[in-house]
């Protein structure tokens, strides 16, 4: 294959292929600050908790679980998700924070998931778990990537895990042997090979959602706040998540705009 990519792009692509993910430290964190401030504003309003002072944002989010009843968690989460997804600037800032790495890994003509997901993992909570899975097994296109953005520092069980590509190959070859009868059984079999992703606020994670990933009960003393959103090239194959209902084009280039509007002249 001819490869005219720049050295930087090639390096990033190689890391993505080898590890199944990349973590990028952002030079400009203004878009991230917009996302975090917007979430905090919503938490204060929806959960009726006083807005934190400046520079207290991280403490506020990490200690969220101390200010709510766990039974209300899902209700709050849904209300916050609905609110952020009504804000077009939120989506734009989400894209802007990941733009450079997405252009390098996916391309510059992108479709973005229409609704951004928010994950809140309070310590000891079993209700918000995302057991081991690969998005492609449930209908996503293998042409998608996930941009995963933490609003707090994530480590150990407060983070997510992923099975690196070199181990996934073994799973793929002997799927029935590994998967057993439940995702828990599956997890036990690959547990020793998974990688916990350590990531801080100010960084973004882009990962291959085809690799098995998930989380377990957060055993740390802080709440995890993270968001995730899928991106793909506009004209690459779609899975069960289609354009319009799940994805929307966000960076259509002029040549494609001309192309999709073009009709051959009619000869009578």
């Amino acid at each position: 294959m001819i490869n005219f990519k720049e050295i930087k792009e090639n390096r990033l692509s190689e890391t993505f292929k080898k590890k199944g993910y990349v973590i990028i430290k952002l030079d400009d964190i203004k878009p991230l600050e917009y996302l975090r401030n917007s979430i905090i504003k919503n938490i204060s309003k929806i959960c009726k908790i006083s807005h934190p002072e400046k520079n207290e944002e991280e403490y506020f989010l990490n200690n969220f679980h101390k200010n709510i009843k766990p039974i209300k968690l899902n209700e709050y989460r849904l209300k916050i998700i609905n609110s952020i997804n009504r804000d077009n600037n939120f989506k734009k800032n989400y894209f802007l924070s990941s733009k450079n790495v997405l252009y390098d890994l996916v391309g510059n003509e992108l479709s973005m998931q229409t609704r951004i997901n928010l994950s809140i993992q309070i310590p000891g909570d079993r209700t918000s778990l995302l057991p081991l899975h690969s998005d492609i097994w449930s209908g996503d296109s293998p042409f998608e990537v996930v941009a995963w953005i933490p609003l707090v520092n994530c480590y150990d069980t407060k983070a997510m895990y992923i099975l690196p590509p070199k181990y996934y190959k073994k799973v793929e070859k002997n799927f029935s042997k590994f998967s057993g009868n439940s995702s828990e059984e599956f997890f036990k079999k690959i547990k020793k090979n998974i990688e916990w992703i350590k990531i801080n606020f100010g960084e973004i994670l882009v990962f291959n959602q085809g690799l098995p990933h998930g989380n377990i009960v957060n055993k740390e003393l802080e709440t995890r706040w993270s968001m995730n959103c899928r991106f793909k090239s506009i004209f690459s194959p779609y899975g069960d998540k289609k354009i319009g209902e799940f994805f929307e084009p966000i960076t259509l280039r002029v040549a494609s705009e001309i192309g999709i509007n073009y009709n051959l002249p009619k000869i009578k």
Partner: protein, 141 residues
């Protein structure tokens, strides 16, 4: 509270068929979540290219502020007809809710947004789907 009349299809659209009770649920839920008053849905005739019921709703628009579609792909496949229809609705100051996609069309800019998705979707007919992709890969191996 703005009144929204539901609009459902009784035929498949862009290769997809959705049972009417599912279309109804999606429209009703979207209206509830977004503070619209949901008025029962009208069902389009099953004949290909029929938009008689939709035109009827647009004509008798005095009681409604919006039309709630299940999906943007219920609109006419023909590019010119689709644009004309959308412009006609907007000109009557009726908003259009596409409940499955979560889009609300209020002005010409929104129409362009919907139309872009339509045009891409039509071109994607010539691109592989995930299913084809896996099938072809399997054959190759």
């Amino acid at each position: 509270m703005k009144k929204v009349k539901g609009y459902m299809s009784s035929r498949s659209f862009m290769g997809e068929r959705v049972p009417q009770h599912i279309q109804n649920q999606i429209i009703r839920n979207y209206c509830t979540q977004n503070n619209f008053y949901y008025m029962l849905s009208a069902v389009e005739y099953a004949m290909k290219n029929s938009f008689l019921i939709l035109n009827q709703i647009i004509k008798a628009n005095k009681e409604i502020s919006g039309i709630g579609f299940y999906s943007i792909f219920q609109l006419p496949e023909n590019d010119i007809l689709r644009m004309l229809l959308l412009k006609k609705i907007i000109a009557k100051r009726i908003i259009i809710l596409f409940c499955s996609e979560g889009f609300i069309v209020k002005n010409y800019k929104d129409i362009i947004r919907v139309n872009t998705i339509w045009l891409i979707k039509k071109k994607l007919k010539y691109s592989l789907t995930n299913f084809d992709y896996f099938k072809k890969n399997k054959t190759k191996n």
